[in-house]
């Protein structure tokens, strides 16, 4: 059965679209005003670019795959090797560039998967209410009391090495945050007029949630996603540092740092550059996330 009497706030109607456009334009203006947000956007774009094209940008692509050149071990930074070389003569610049791909893409994947699972759980809990809500939320809250890093480590170790397993392991500790957010938003929207209208027109609960409620709560979810990417990248690097997740020769910033530890302080460049890369990535995405939040969530304005 189709819903014929769609209220004005319904997504897709001309009035709503025009209103959204105005909001977006105003938001984009505010975003441009904030210098920090623009810097964040620049860094994030730069990293995204490297993440996609990294392996081809690296000057020594063979080394990314694992080739070594022990004659050139531990060369300090120079024109030939801007980031120096490591213990087996590999060019640090190439490794760091290639590492961007793993850290950034894995971080994004974690956030997306966490958001999807969290939204499913949260929307179900929020819309269904009652016992379903109670149970799901108790479960979510309990999961939140567990130490997320240790949990991710344990699961990743149990699943075995590999990027997919690592992403899955981290995503498991990521979804509760989204679940709570989405639940709160769904509960807030549940009682609005357009939901009643849809229900009166005979729409099934799943359809109401998917087509009507979810599109209206996209904003806070996007804000949280963008704020979380930085920390997801940090978690990926953390797992790499501890030695769980990806195995050599796959260059991952955290594991590069871990190896470099043993060569301090003499060969400082083997640690400084991967470490700084992690910092830059997290910082850039955090700036971006902060800026997006200022734009999309007017309640959070200073």
């Amino acid at each position: 059965m189709t819903e014929t009497a769609a209220p004005v706030t319904e997504r897709g109607s001309p009035g709503a679209l025009a209103a959204r456009l105005v909001n977006w334009r105003r938001g984009a203006y505010r975003f441009r005003q904030s210098r920090l947000s623009l810097i964040g956007l620049a860094i994030a774009a730069f990293l995204a670019f490297i993440a996609v094209f990294g392996p081809w940008l690296a000057p020594h692509q063979d080394q990314v795959a694992g080739a070594v050149d022990t004659a050139l071990r531990f060369r300090p930074p120079s024109w030939a090797f801007p980031f120096g070389t490591n213990d087996v003569g590999q060019d640090m610049l190439s490794l760091v560039l290639a590492g961007a791909r793993i850290s950034v893409l894995a971080g994004l994947a974690v956030v997306v998967i966490g958001a999807v699972i969290g939204t499913l759980v949260g929307a179900t809990a929020g819309y269904a209410g009652g016992l379903v809500d109670e149970t799901l939320m108790r479960f979510t809250d309990l999961t939140l009391t567990l130490p997320s890093l240790i949990l991710a480590m344990a699961i990743a170790a149990a699943l075995g090495p590999g990027i997919g397993n690592m992403i899955a392991a981290i995503a498991v500790s990521w979804w509760p945050g989204f679940a709570r957010l989405v639940r709160g938003e769904v509960i807030a929207k549940k009682h609005e007029a357009f939901v009643d209208a849809a229900r009166a027109a005979g729409a099934r609960p799943a359809r109401i949630v998917l087509r009507h409620i979810l599109p209206n709560i996209v904003s806070p979810v996007i804000v949280k996603m963008s704020l979380d990417v930085g920390f997801a990248i940090l978690t990926v690097a953390s797992l790499g540092f501890v030695g769980i997740g990806v195995l050599p020769p796959t260059p991952e910033w955290g594991s590069l740092l871990s190896v470099a530890r043993g060569y301090m302080p003499d060969y400082w460049w083997t640690a400084i550059f991967p470490g700084f890369a992690i910092f830059l990535a997290v910082f850039g995405f955090n700036l971006l996330g902060d800026g997006l939040r200022d734009v999309l969530d007017p309640k959070a304005r200073r």
């Binding site: 009391t145 567990l146 480590m153 953390s238 540092f241 910092f279």
Partner: protein, 335 residues
């Protein structure tokens, strides 16, 4: 106040039960065969089966949970397949070390963060505020293990002021164990030399840990201070002549503290689980390091033990925060 406290304590019980079930379920659901690992590559099937029975792994799941749960209450937290010691004993050794680190880091974060937040709010939109915002974002983004490494490079390797790692020099006599906190124990024994040593070893790891909560506490304090400054009762206080300093440090501070208190409680929990990396960098003998080794060897009793104790501590700290909330905001007590 008493009734409020009792109510909160009673609510704690189902949470703790739920926690134990959850941890047990996750541990059992994970793939991996620690028995096989512990038995070694040359063990025969019979030996592995015997080992399994010895560890009680052949019985049905609910029975296993029951014996596990009752064991927990009795103080029997299983045995570490790796160290061959009871987990409870391992925890008794390693947990205070981590707690000392986390408490030190939180103390630093609170002592610097709260005044910094008040200061930033009092100078809103001027350069100290702007600078603190950038610094906060940078501090949260900095990976703890990289920061630890940098601190080691700077203060231990290049400047030589502070030790590289560990908790106490092996060549010296540690004070008698009362709390497990080297700092407190050495003070209790009146051993100032040991106290100084303990502090020197604590300094770098604590600092590496404190940056993240410091940044968040500053931001939170700033935000809630600004919000409080808008309130009507602040206008009334000003209208009746109370001095700016009195208003800020007595009234506004207490009103703004409640939101920050929640953050402090949450961060305590986060830090407990997050010491893994710093303990690795600084060779700090805490539960982070213990858990890491256990994870790598798929020794799940210690992992369960660590996870559970962190969960329990987290819930307890939040309870304390709730109680403190009742002190700061009297309305809450009467709900």
């Amino acid at each position: 106040m008493l009734r409020y406290t009792l109510r909160r304590l009673i609510l704690l019980i189902p949470v703790l039960v739920g926690l134990s079930v959850l941890v047990f379920a996750v541990a059992r659901l994970l793939p991996g065969d620690p028995v096989r690992l512990a038995a070694g590559p040359n063990a025969s099937e019979a030996e592995i089966r015997n080992l399994a029975t010895e560890f009680g792994l052949d019985r049905p799941l609910p029975v296993q949970y029951w014996s596990y749960a009752t064991g927990l209450l009795r103080g029997d937290w299983g045995v570490s397949i790796y160290t061959r010691r009871p987990v409870a004993e391992d925890l008794r050794i390693y947990l205070p070390a981590t707690l000392e680190l986390v408490v030190a880091a939180m103390l630093l974060a609170v002592m610097i963060g709260i005044p910094a937040g008040l200061f930033a709010a009092a100078h809103r939109d001027r350069w100290p505020d702007y600078a603190s915002r950038v610094f906060s974002l940078g501090a949260i983004s900095m990976p703890r293990f990289f920061l630890g490494l940098l601190l080691q490079l700077a203060f231990a390797m290049w400047l030589g002021w502070l030790p590289l790692g560990g908790r106490f020099p092996l060549t010296e006599d540690a004070p008698a164990t009362i709390t497990g906190f080297l700092t407190i124990d050495s003070l209790a024994a009146g051993d100032l030399h040991a106290f100084g040593l303990a502090l020197r070893y604590l300094a770098l790891p604590a600092f590496a840990m404190c940056l993240s909560p410091l940044a968040t506490i500053t931001r939170m304090m700033r935000a809630s201070t600004l919000e409080v400054l808008q309130q009507d009762y602040v206008l009334t206080a000003r209208a009746l002549g109370l001095s700016h300093r009195l208003i800020l440090f007595k009234y506004v501070a207490r009103n703004a503290l409640s939101a920050t208190l929640t953050i402090i409680g949450l961060y305590f929990g986060f830090l407990l689980g997050g010491t893994v990396l710093v303990e690795t960098v600084f060779d700090w003998p805490g539960i982070g390091l213990y858990a890491t080794k256990a994870i790598v060897t798929q020794d799940f009793m210690p992992v369960i033990g660590v996870t559970l104790s962190i969960g329990v501590l987290f819930v307890t700290v939040n309870l304390i925060v709730d109680l403190l909330y009742g002190v700061i905001n009297p309305k809450v007590r009467y709900e």
